[in-house]
């Protein structure tokens, strides 16, 4: 691989923070990361390195950022305060921004009913447990409208509005 082909400013697009530059590849983030047990493993340290080097291609095609369990252990342990979890989210965002297939289906569901799953519809069960009716947004159409209207004003949703509008 030749560095001349890599984009030296990529890190600024993805995770424009001095925190990233602090990284000295000590591997602390790796050793305790749950998702690093995955197949393929999530290798936070390597991702950080790829961002610094500006290896656009490889980064774009890398699925591992999405395997993160968001436990933020790396964040706690990183001796250089690189905030790796923040970086992972940043990579995900950059990927979605540059590749619509990365757009998580979850946000469509949330757009549609306010949650990733239907909430409060299990009325019978709740009754049997002596629970009250739950005022979820799903049950407040005009509220939900407002919510959707709001989301439409945000970049990824508006960019990919077709995913949301078609019935």
């Amino acid at each position: 691989m030749d560095f001349s082909s890599s984009d030296k400013d990529l890190w600024k697009q993805i995770y424009n923070t001095k925190d990233l530059l602090h990284c000295f590849n000590c591997s602390t983030c790796l050793s305790g990361c749950p998702a690093s047990h995955g197949d393929p493993p999530l290798l936070v340290r390597n991702l950080a390195r790829m961002v610094v080097y500006g290896l656009e291609e490889d980064l774009l095609n890398d699925d591992t950022p999405w395997a993160c369990v968001s436990c933020s252990r790396c964040e706690e342990m990183c001796p250089m305060d690189v905030k790796p979890f923040e970086m992972i989210l940043a990579i995900r965002r950059w990927q979605t921004l540059n590749d619509e297939t990365r757009v998580p289906t979850a946000i469509v569901e949330i757009y549609k009913r306010g949650y990733t799953q239907s909430v409060g519809t299990n009325t019978e069960l709740r009754k049997s447990l002596g629970l009250p009716e739950l005022q979820t947004i799903t049950k407040m159409p005009e509220m939900l409208k407002l919510y959707q209207e709001m989301l439409m004003k945000t970049p990824v949703v508006s960019e990919n509005d077709y995913m949301f509008n078609e019935e």
């Binding site: 691989m1 560095f3 602090h22 000590c26 591997s27 050793s31 305790g32 690093s36 390195r49 001796p79």
Partner: protein
């Protein structure tokens, strides 16, 4: 009459090695020293370490003075320090400092020990009965101690104390104390003292597992220990008699892992520095673990950069890895998990295979570093100074040991983070600064008590006077019948008289003895008392006053007969044991020759070879103290490499202008004579009287200089290389060339897109410079930062093996990364490859994180070629017959304990001639070397020791085996005289010559065959207890 000037008095606060060293150095030249330590004992951390690399053993005794050594302690430093000019105040804190330069009033708070250690016999009856048990901090809680305890279990004499925090005041100890010296109501004592100068040597706090958050993910088992605790575990005097067992269950530990950078190099925990010492520490412990635990012990070190930057460190590192098979893994691990079987599981990522591994260990050792700052803040307030930007005490920019406040100095870890040899040099340097300072104010030195040697009576038939102190009779174990003993001895041939008195050590006691002896007819004297090494000198003087030749005088340690385990026998008949012991000494004393110390003729002039900054600094430091200096420089300009080539350094120093100022000082000083274009050809003589032949290269003629001592400061220069296509392209430069180009502007990086630097070019490898040049990483970073300043868009890659930004230099490494400089590590086995594509360099290397081949086509390729020794070192070495190592640097007497000395007394080394080092370190060494020199040229009398080797010319056949075998080069064959000559100052009476010489033409006076064989006889007079079984 004019009032007497006060004796120069110095406070040394902190009795770790650096403090002790400073104290000894000052005491030796005749200043009074108060040596305090906040802890109940002296010795600092070193008291806990039985082993230091590179020898893996102690050798602490090597820091004792060499000339007139009987008067300094002849004993292992672990037993304590005895010097008449040093007042040791353990368990004492510096409370306040008032007044100004040369006249300080200090308050000392001596904490209560609750035990009068002067009277305590140190046998610890009290300990036996004390009901309270707490963790013993000396063994890091691995063992238990009582509320009344011995702070350092293996010290003699023992300095017991009571830990009031734990004490229940049950009073049991008071009841059993045979010497009743326990006072549970004792109180701390605040005292006020006047001192003229202050040396701070209180060291820094050590990172500990209890206190710091990031250690908590490791605190899962007692088998996870700090590196210092591990020292105690492997220590012979430690927790498991030196065998390696894991604390949890005492099982032998076969798999041990070391975790580097615990508490260091951690921005998140606000500790963005490197502790410098831990890497070597871990290597050493890993090697020891194998040596003590056997080859089946597996040792692994988890590290980021192996910072083996010091002299001979790299060879040690190679040895550890190649010979001892210490495993190194470059990975920082989050924590450790405890397995049901008590083993410790660690998961790490291996970049080469890009795989995770989970390994179980029996023990995990955390390389816990030093924690500065806290200590510094407190001290700064005490001294009414402000801590500097780095959070350290504000010192002179160039002189690390010199506080900005006049009359105040510091040494040891307080300066930053130091290893052993630097601690020692700094101790000497601080002492030097003090003596420079005190020579400028109105104080005097302690008068050496000069008692004329009485005329020797050894030609007369030996007649021995014996004085026995029966104070030990009081000890509970004692069953010595002094009357019987005395009577028995009296019967012995050549025993003139036996006197038994009480408390010889007390002043009345001494007086009694003096009166007795003045009347005595005897010509030899034997005194039996306790712990003789504590007051050998005072008793010796007493003997002299009474007309006994100091060399015809012996002291025997009676207490040991009463107390020491190894004299015990079934019969418990101490009277007989004492009788036999004393009889052996008598046999020896009978045959002792009368010895005389010679006063060496000292020419109070020094020769300094090399006019670099180190050389000039040393010269000036000496001249300031009135010593005449010959400064010899082989070029026609002063300043050396740093002083002529380096405009400014990353830490804001400006060597060139500094050198200019220093040059003026040197040229103007009336005591310094400069010889430019001159080099040393040959030298002869010994301490006090060297004669050196100098060659004037310009005039092409020789002349001679006479001097009492010499300092070698020949320096070094940037290394050269043919590697990486150097010389074949104008885009390939050395760091120095780049630095020049950048300052002069000849090199314009404004347009540059990519610049690559390669570290360790030709360094740290068997077939090259087998050492780390120490300054290249920081140098490279400095250059890289300059490039980034000039052109932030430029991409700078630094290909390194280990980033050697040790200590606070770590901040520059961080700073560099922040500036976007990219660091990529490579291994010796897999160096980057450079080839020229139409004149321009193309670099191929393996990127270790992603483990993939990478390529760069930079505008510039910069090579860090390290530091080379001056080629002339070999000739200078020959001229002074001083050893030069394979890399062309001078070999000091002892890498840890005598860093600036040579084995031959009177010759010293400073600066890069010793090994590559930073400017500040070179100046530090120069100061130290200057002081060692001054100590002999200061004008005070220098005596040879009593016990040195002599030649019986009448029977000497000049086979010169003694010359070859003498480790100090103290013996030589003088062809003109056709004789073997002994340099009395250099001779250390090790006795090698005596053994090598088959007919005793070479003999250690006072250790003659006759004496020793007589002792053997005495030892083997039949002992009724031992009888052959039938």
């Amino acid at each position: 009459m004019a009032e007497k000037k006060p004796t120069g008095t110095v406070l040394v606060a902190g009795a770790g090695v650096s403090g002790i060293k400073a104290a000894i150095e000052l005491a030796e030249i005749g200043y009074k020293v108060l040596l305090t330590d906040a802890s109940p004992q002296i010795g600092g951390i070193l008291a806990k370490l039985d082993n230091q690399f590179p020898t893996d053993h102690c050798g602490m005794c090597r820091m004792l003075p060499l000339v007139g050594r009987e008067y300094a302690s002849q004993y292992c430093m672990r037993k304590g320090l005895y010097h008449e000019n040093i007042e040791i105040l353990p368990f004492t804190e510096l409370k306040s400092v008032e007044g100004d330069a040369g006249n300080y009033t200090i308050e000392l708070l001596q904490k209560a020990r609750y035990i009068d250690t002067d009277k305590c016999n140190g046998l610890g009856e009290c300990i036996k009965v004390c009901p309270v048990e707490v963790g013993d901090e000396f063994n890091h809680g691995l063992t238990k101690r009582k509320a009344v305890y011995k702070p350092v279990p293996h010290n003699t004499p023992q300095m017991l104390l009571i830990d009031m925090a734990a004490c229940t005041k049950c009073g049991e100890c008071v009841k059993v104390c045979p010497t009743n010296v326990i006072n549970l109501e004792a109180e701390d004592e605040l005292s006020t003292r006047q001192v003229h100068a202050i040396i701070l040597a209180s060291g820094v706090k050590l990172y500990n597992l209890e206190e710091f958050e990031d250690a908590k993910s490791w605190a899962v088992s007692p088998d996870v220990v700090s590196s210092l605790a591990f020292e105690r575990i492997i220590s012979g005097s430690g927790t498991f008699d030196g065998t390696i067992k894991r604390p949890s269950d005492g099982k032998a530990a076969k798999k041990i892992a070391w975790i580097q950078c615990m508490g260091s190099r951690n921005r998140r925990q606000k500790r963005d520095y490197c502790s410098s010492i831990c890497c070597m520490f871990a290597l050493k412990e890993a090697v020891l673990a194998k040596e003590k635990g056997g080859d089946d012990v597996e040792t692994t070190i988890f590290y980021m950069d192996m910072r083996t930057f010091g002299k001979d460190f790299y060879q040690y590192y190679e040895k550890a890895v190649d010979e001892h098979g210490v495993k190194l893994i470059r990975c920082r691990v989050q924590g450790v998990m405890l397995n049901p079987d008590k083993s410790l599981s660690m998961r790490y990522f291996d970049s080469e295979t890009q795989e995770f591994f989970v390994v179980d260990y029996d023990m995990v050792v955390l390389s816990t570093g030093q924690v500065p700052y806290e200590t510094h803040k407190k001290l700064a307030d005490l001294l009414h100074v402000a801590i500097n930007a780095q959070g350290l005490l504000p010192t002179d920019p160039y002189e690390k040991v010199k506080l900005i406040k006049p009359g105040m100095f510091l040494c040891g870890s307080l300066m930053g983070l130091t290893d052993l040899s630097e601690a020692i040099s700094s101790g000497i340097a601080a002492a030097g600064q003090v003596s420079r300072f005190l020579s400028g104010i109105d104080v005097t030195l302690l008068e050496e008590e000069e008692i004329p040697e009485p005329t020797a009576k050894d030609r007369d038939e030996p007649l021995i006077s014996i004085v026995l102190c029966k104070c030990s009779e009081k000890a509970k174990e004692s069953s010595v019948d002094f009357n019987a003993l005395g009577a028995g001895l009296k019967k012995l041939n050549s025993v003139g008289e036996v006197n038994i008195i009480d408390m010889v050590c007390s002043d009345e006691g001494k007086q009694t003895v003096l009166d007795l002896l003045s009347k005595s007819k005897c010509n030899r004297l034997l005194i039996g008392a306790c712990h003789p090494f504590m007051y050998r000198k005072s008793l010796k003087n007493l003997a002299k006053k009474a007309g006994f030749s100091a060399s015809l005088f012996e002291i025997i340690d009676l207490s040991s007969i009463v107390h020491k385990g190894f004299f015990e026998s079934e019969t418990k008949d101490q009277t007989r044991l004492a009788y036999n012991e004393i009889r052996a000494v008598i046999e020896n004393l009978k045959l002792k020759p009368a010895l005389h110390v010679e006063t060496l003729p000292i020419n109070p002039a020094a020769l300094v070879v090399g006019g670099g900054i180190a050389g000039m600094h040393a010269a000036f430091s000496l001249a300031q103290r009135g010593v005449k200096v010959h400064l010899v420089e082989k070029s026609d300009t002063l300043g050396g490499y740093a002083g002529t080539k380096i405009e400014h350094t990353i830490d804001g120093l400006t060597p060139i202008s500094m050198a200019k100022d220093l040059t003026i000082k040197v040229l103007e000083h009336k005591h310094i004579t400069l010889y430019k274009n001159c080099e040393v050809v040959a030298t002869q003589g010994s301490l006090g009287a060297f004669e050196t032949k100098i060659r004037d290269l310009a005039k092409e003629e020789n002349f001679y200089l006479n001097h009492g001592a010499a300092i070698i400061a020949t320096g070094g220069h940037e290394g050269v290389t043919a590697e990486y296509e150097y010389g074949n392209s104008d885009q390939i430069l050395t760091q120095a060339e780049l630095k020049d180009g950048l300052t002069t502007g000849e090199i314009d990086v404004g347009e540059a897109e990519t610049i690559v630097m390669i570290q360790c070019v030709g360094s740290r490898q068997k077939d090259g410079r087998e050492y780390c040049s120490r300054i290249c990483c920081i140098g490279a970073i400095a250059n890289a930062l300059t490039i980034k300043e000039k052109n932030p868009e430029a991409r700078v890659f630094i290909l390194y093996r280990d980033v050697m930004t040790y200590g606070f230099a770590e901040q520059y490494y961080t700073q560099a990364r922040l500036a976007g400089i990219i660091f990529v590590s490579y291994s010796l086995e897999n160096k980057p490859k450079v080839e020229l594509k139409d004149g321009s360099p193309v670099i191929t290397f393996t990127e270790p994180v992603l483990n993939s081949e990478m390529q760069l086509s930079p505008d510039y390729l910069i090579l860090s070629t390290g530091v080379d020794a001056e080629a002339s070192n070999r000739d200078v070495g020959k001229a002074f017959s001083l050893p030069v190592n394979g890399d062309g640097f001078f070999v000091e007497a002892d890498s840890k304990w005598r860093p600036v000395e040579f084995l031959k007394v009177g010759l010293y080394v400073a600066g890069v001639a010793h090994s590559p080092m930073t400017l500040k370190d070179a100046i530090l060494q120069a100061e130290a070397a200057a002081h060692k020199t001054y100590a002999y040229l200061s004008g005070r009398k220098i005596h040879t020791a009593h016990v040195i080797s002599k030649v019986h010319h009448a029977i000497c056949v000049k086979c010169q085996r003694c010359v070859d075998i003498c480790p100090y080069g103290a013996r030589s064959y003088d062809e003109v005289l056709d004789r073997i000559i002994v340099d009395g100052a250099t001779c250390q009476a090790c006795g090698m010559c005596g053994v090598a010489c088959q007919n005793n033409a070479a003999e250690i006076m006072g250790f003659s065959d006759k004496q020793i064989m007589a002792v053997i006889d005495a030892r083997l007079y039949r002992d009724p207890v031992a009888t052959t079984a039938q």
